[in-house]
């Protein structure tokens, strides 16, 4: 089986009417993802036994007809801690780490009888845009196995794209949900900073990190955000604002809505086919009765520099905890305590993580703090002000998610600066804490192209409304990969 010909509501009805048991669905899902894992390598850990046991228990209890997600297996990025289920952040330093608690988002899944089927591959500590910096494996793009799935949530995106699961969770610090969604032709949403609890997320950039859903349809995506959103006493940055029903108001209409298209988002370095997809999308929205204005976000071009200073600085601080003492990898044959720290970190972290720690440590160090960290935080304010100005008279912003479709495995992995530049269209959203979506909007040489939609803080409802209208008016989301390609 695969999940191409179904959706959440259809599966839910089958489960409620006992045409399908959670156990059978789980076994079918396991068979599919295990078969795909050789070619696609989306999973670090597949939790076969626990998933089947959980499914049996849910069947025995009975499927709650009011809970759409009861008995549905989903995949979780391996930087979200799961009690008793190895969680690695795709790093050697956490190769044997078994969390003793569940992240808040996992608690919410379990409380709603969702089955965690496995932990997906990512760039080490979510640092990267291709899933190539994983210590364990290289995940391949289902549309073309010689291409990356994007990153850092590449495993979650790839398994949804391959029809292995209905939905997956990822995290997005600078585009790590939206860019892989774009590269694999699925729907990915980074909620507003504060919408979803970060408790139990292995921290990378704490002022930027958010958890969000991957799905094949906009409506299923909204339904999964319904499940994971809300205030959490364990995360003081999680918002106590009321969580609306994100599936309400999906009526296919954007009539009268005012859309902004920033000219900087179609500038140098953006692939011609990507530009065309975005301009076609603008026309689709116009045909649906919206207006589209060209606007300017003048500080966009400084986004990459400011983002990499801030995210690396926060990472260098967050990753101090990995010292080989309380948990994780400890180097062998050490002479003294200092040696434990230095050798465990130097042997336990991969090159990309070391680069970020070095960039962050440098940016925060005496004599450089004002020129780098503080300066970047000031530029961040200007970027936020750019968005505020556009949102004064627009409901949402559209643009490409990434400048190009998926690139080849190994193509950019030796040029970190080039790799960083790929994030130019996604990092501004994290810097401003805004909600953003990527959804299928076209193809370039057989590879999916994503449209990015950006809304005001805590206005995910507009994201979903606009995304749903676009999805109903187009058929890009119904295209599925023939797993293969020129490997």
């Amino acid at each position: 089986m695969n999940y191409y010909d179904t959706d959440l509501t259809t599966l839910h009805e089958k489960l409620v009417n006992k045409k399908l048991t959670a156990e059978q669905l789980t076994r079918d899902t396991l068979a599919k993802i295990k078969a795909d894992n050789e070619a696609i390598n989306a999973y670090i850990t597949i939790d076969e036994n626990a998933a089947i046991e959980t499914a049996k228990a849910i069947d025995a209890k009975g499927i709650n007809p009011d809970n759409l997600w009861a008995g549905i297996p989903i995949a979780v990025k391996d930087n979200i801690v799961t009690k008793g289920l190895r969680t690695t952040a795709a790093s050697k330093i956490l190769e044997n780490f078994n969390p003793i608690y569940d992240a808040t988002v996992i608690e919410k899944l379990r409380a709603n009888d969702v089955i965690v089927i496995g932990k997906t591959n990512l760039d080490e500590f979510a640092m990267g845009g291709s899933t190539e910096t994983s210590y364990f494996k290289t995940t391949r793009n289902p549309w073309n196995l010689s291409k990356v799935p994007g990153g850092s949530s590449g495993g979650s995106a790839a398994t949804v794209s391959a029809g292995g699961v209905l939905a997956a969770l990822g995290t997005d610090t600078g585009g790590s949900i939206r860019q892989p969604a774009s590269f694999t032709g699925v729907v990915g949403v980074k909620p507003t900073y504060g919408r979803v609890s970060r408790w139990g997320i292995i921290a990378f950039g704490s002022s930027l990190d958010q958890v969000g859903p991957f799905t094949r349809t906009v409506k299923d995506n909204a339904a999964l955000l319904n499940l994971i959103a809300g205030h959490d006493e364990h995360d003081m940055t999680s918002s106590d604002k009321e969580v609306p029903d994100f599936t309400a108001g999906l009526d296919g209409s954007v009539k009268g809505m005012r859309i902004a298209l920033p000219k900087e988002y179609l500038g140098e370095g953006v692939d011609e086919n990507v530009k065309k997809a975005v301009l076609d999308a603008a026309n689709t929205f116009k045909e649906l009765g919206a207006t589209v204005d060209e606007v300017s976000l003048p500080h966009s071009k400084y986004g990459i520099a400011a983002y990499y200073i801030i995210s690396s600085s926060e990472a260098s601080s967050n990753l101090q905890r990995f010292d080989g003492i309380r948990y994780g990898f400890r180097a062998k044959d050490v002479k003294n305590l200092e040696d434990v720290y230095v050798r465990s970190r130097s042997e336990g972290f991969g090159d990309e993580v070391k680069r970020r720690i070095m960039l962050g440590t440098y940016s925060l160090s005496a004599g450089f703090y004002d020129a780098y960290f503080r300066k970047a935080a000031e530029v961040r304010t200007l970027m936020i002000n750019d968005f505020k100005k556009v949102f004064e008279d627009h409901d949402f912003i559209i643009g490409p998610t990434a400048p190009t479709p998926a690139f080849g495995i190994g193509e950019d992995s030796n040029d970190p600066k080039k790799m960083y530049m790929n994030d130019v269209l996604t990092v501004p959203v994290n810097m401003a804490g805004l909600p953003g979506m990527s959804l299928p909007a076209g193809f370039s040489n057989g590879l999916p192209v994503g449209l990015q939609i950006i809304a005001k803080p805590f206005d995910e409802q507009t994201l979903y409304k606009a995304g749903y209208a676009f999805e109903q008016a187009t058929d890009f989301h119904s295209k599925t990969p023939e797993i293969g390609g020129d490997k």
Binding site: N96, N98, I100, Y101, Y193, G194, S207, E233, M236, T237, S239, D240, H299, Y302, I304, A305, A306, Y308, I309, I325, R326, Y327, G328, F329, R330, V334, K335, N336, L337, E338, D339, V342, R343, R345, S346, F349, D351, K354, R355, I357, M358, L359, T361, Y362, S363, S365, G367, A371, Y372, K375, A376, E378, V379, R380, T381, I384, K417, Y420, G433, P457
Partner: protein, 105 residues
């Protein structure tokens, strides 16, 4: 200006020591080249006039929240210590802080 300096190997070694990392000679050369390239990108921020602009360190509008001062049972020691790489009698074991091989004379 500090931000016009080009990062060199000595600086990279200094930063590595602050970050509790070490590099062999080949990696030191590679990291110095890559970090200099990326710092060049970072230096473009000096073009932006931020006079009078307040920095943004967090975008949350939540204030710090306090919980009631009540003792709760959270993580148990036995469970916590299972992830430690080296333990003895319920404690985490680490090597001596002072290098014993050097202090032998």
């Amino acid at each position: 200006m500090a931000n016009e300096e080009k990062i060199d190997k000595a600086q990279v070694e200094h930063v590595a020591s602050l970050a509790k990392l070490e590099f062999n000679d080949a990696d030191l050369g590679k990291f110095t080249t890559q970090l200099a390239d990326i710092m060049g990108l970072f230096n473009t921020l000096s073009e932006v006039d931020t006079t009078g602009v307040e920095p943004t360190f967090s975008v949350t509008d939540q204030f710090n929240t306090m919980r009631e001062d009540m003792a709760v049972n959270s993580h148990e020691k036995d469970a916590l210590i299972k992830n430690a790489p080296d333990t003895q009698d319920g404690y985490i074991r680490v090597p001596a802080i002072i290098d014993e091989s050097e202090g032998a004379n």
